[in-house]
């Protein structure tokens, strides 16, 4: 790969704009800002023409994999197609030209959108109140756990631990630690779900919260959920739903009805805002009435008299602020658009088609790959590459080989309870033809493992770069450009 950085394309004095003649008297910067506030050296900004900058980023986007290009079956990430209408609404000048310091009366439309989006999310999840402030699923988890902490502090209970199953996303125990609790792992049973008996063994009145992903990361519905939430409530604890897999539930069942006290939504997964590349994301959190006093400030509310939308800062029990201003507003516009475009019948259909697609792929792929939990799945399922490992080919090799066919690899080596795990989530936006094409690729790779394993072990061959040194990328990452 020999693609220059935008800085390397720079040529002194070149520019991509032309401005009309200035019609006000020019003022020197040091007079306006004060000489002490000016930088000593010019900022090293790239200077390029418009066509150069467009070509540069188009070239990079072609080298990248993205959902506008092909299927992206990355398990637990819900990489669904992002409808372009979302971009139309998010680009409306009434939204893009806002300033976060504008007074509330001048941004009524934006506040109304946030207010209504929060209400829709509450309805979808069976919760009483939703905050849109968290900007990722992990921050949503952190928010939920801080709410729980505030609640137990207020009622004077000392609860130190948070439970989560061994299939949980790694963010769960990380958020637990960040929020000041002790993480305690519970083993799932041989059917891949959490057993009331296993919960019984660890449950006592020092447990603050049970965190559960439903459906879980094996793509299985937690069948004992009513019993599990009842048991935790019986000991005075709370139950948090990691909403990463909400795509399987929408319009069919609701976290609130299962006994969860709070959950997060991933607007960038379930509600079709762009996902990947590190953000921006949306990790809205819904809670039952009990936890409402602790929600982050400001809360979007309505004035008592005239019904105007406003920011409510007067919340003495609030955990405070989680993000600058009000969260990632552009992501909220996209999620709101998506919900209105889909309607309630559409939401149910999303879940039904996502589940059908996953089961179709699972049934076809189990012919050539091991399927440790062979049962009806929800929106995703987990294969094992154990059969291929016996031929000396690891799942990481299979994942790299998939890239050669212009398809993004599934999630690998997760969840940790499946050896050589390959976690596949096709989402509802793939057609049968697209699913079949993926199956063909997976079958061809299974053949190659048997007949020409070196081809798979040395993959990828058709990508802009080959195998990267992942250890060095993790430990010696350097993203600074300097000349």
């Amino acid at each position: 790969m020999n693609t220059p950085l935008i800085f390397e394309l720079s040529s002194r004095g070149r520019k991509g704009y032309s401005l009309p003649k200035c019609d006000v008297p020019a003022r020197l910067l040091d007079q306006t800002l004060g000489a002490a506030n000016l930088r000593e050296k010019d900022a090293s900004l790239p200077e390029v023409a418009e066509n150069e900058i467009v070509r540069h980023y188009i070239r990079l986007s072609v080298m990248n994999h993205h959902i506008d290009k092909a299927i992206y079956p990355l398990g637990s990430c819900t990489m669904k197609y992002n409808p372009k209408v979302n971009e139309v609404t998010a680009a409306l000048p009434g939204f893009t030209q806002l300033h976060p310091f504008q007074p509330a009366h001048s941004v009524q439309g934006a506040l109304q959108l946030m207010y209504e989006l929060a209400r829709m999310l509450a309805e979808i999840s069976g919760m009483d109140k939703v905050t849109l402030q968290p900007t990722s699923g992990a921050q949503g988890e952190y928010c939920g756990l801080k709410l729980a902490k505030a609640h137990f502090d207020r009622i004077g209970q000392k609860r130190e631990s948070v439970l989560f199953p061994d299939s949980a996303h790694g963010t769960n125990p990380a958020s637990v630690t960040m929020a000041g609790f002790q993480p305690v792992q519970v083993k799932s049973n041989d059917r891949g779900i959490l057993d009331p008996a296993a919960l019984e063994d660890v449950l006592d009145d020092r447990i603050a919260v049970l965190m559960l992903t439903n459906p879980n990361t094996l793509g299985l519905f937690e069948r004992e959920i009513l019993r599990l939430t009842e048991m935790v409530h019986g000991k005075g604890g709370l139950v948090y739903m990691d909403g990463a897999n909400l795509n399987a539930l929408m319009g069919i069942t609701r976290a609130g009805d299962m006994g969860f006290d709070m959950l997060h939504f991933n607007l960038h997964k379930t509600l079709s805002a762009p996902h990947g590349g590190g953000g921006p994301g949306g990790g809205a959190v819904g809670v039952k009435r009990l936890l409402e006093p602790y929600l982050p400030v400001p809360v979007i509310a309505r004035e008592k008299g005239n019904g105007e939308y406003c920011f409510d800062w007067d919340r003495p029990y609030s955990i405070g602020r989680l993000h600058t201003f009000y969260g990632n507003f552009g992501v909220m516009v996209r999620a709101y658009t998506y919900l209105l475009m889909m309607g309630s019948a559409g939401l149910r259909q999303i879940a039904e088609v996502a589940i059908t697609n996953a089961n179709y792929l699972k049934e076809r792929l189990k012919e050539r790959y091991d399927l440790p939990y062979d049962t009806v799945c929800q929106h995703e399922f987990v294969l094992s590459g154990d059969r291929q490992k016996k031929q000396g080919v690891r799942v990481v090799d299979i994942a790299k080989r998939i890239l050669d066919f212009g398809i993004h690899a599934p999630t690998t080596y997760f969840p940790l309870i499946v050896s050589e795990a390959l976690m596949i989530e096709p989402t509802e936006t793939e057609s049968k033809a697209s699913l079949d094409q993926f199956v063909e690729v997976m079958f061809q790779i299974a053949d190659e493992v048997e007949k020409n394993p070196d081809l798979v072990r040395s993959a990828p061959h058709n990508t802009p770069v080959g195998r990267l040194n992942e250890a060095a990328a993790a430990r010696e990452l350097n993203v600074n450009f300097s000349d």
Binding site: V396, F414, E470, A471, A474
Partner: protein
């Protein structure tokens, strides 16, 4: 699979080399292969007490973080400081330059209970 005959092993895929009253500890070739590219190891400090079958540190590979379980009880005499700068040595030379700890004051009864190379080889085959 490389399983040196002169070492002792555990179910948790650690190896132990006994020299006089000092035990050197590391992870096996099989373990490093299962973990994949190792990026970081967190080890105890010299002078710390470690207990048999209890975690003494963590090992971070590209795909997951795991706990390291001590094969024996004892006092940490020395740690492999080279691993701090380059944990990938464990991938390239798990039984040599990739050693992790040397401990002393090890109870003899615990040493007797370790697996020999044949028993460990059978364990990873199953």
């Amino acid at each position: 699979m490389n399983i040196p005959k002169d070492l002792k092993y555990t179910k948790e895929h650690e190896w132990v080399k006994i020299e006089g009253d000092v035990a050197t500890i590391g992870i096996t070739d099989y373990a490093q292969g299962e973990l994949g590219d190792i990026v970081f190891v967190e080890l105890p400090a010299v002078g710390d007490e470690v207990k048999q079958m209890e975690p003494f540190g963590t090992i971070e590979a590209v795909k997951a973080v795991s706990e390291l379980f001590s094969p024996l009880s004892g006092t940490v005499k020395e740690i492999n400081e080279d691993l701090e700068g380059d944990a990938a040595i464990i991938n390239t030379d798990p039984y040599g330059a990739g050693w992790m700890l040397k401990i002393e004051n090890v109870p003899e009864s615990e040493v007797q209970a370790l697996l020999d190379a044949a028993a460990y080889g059978k364990l990873i085959e199953d």
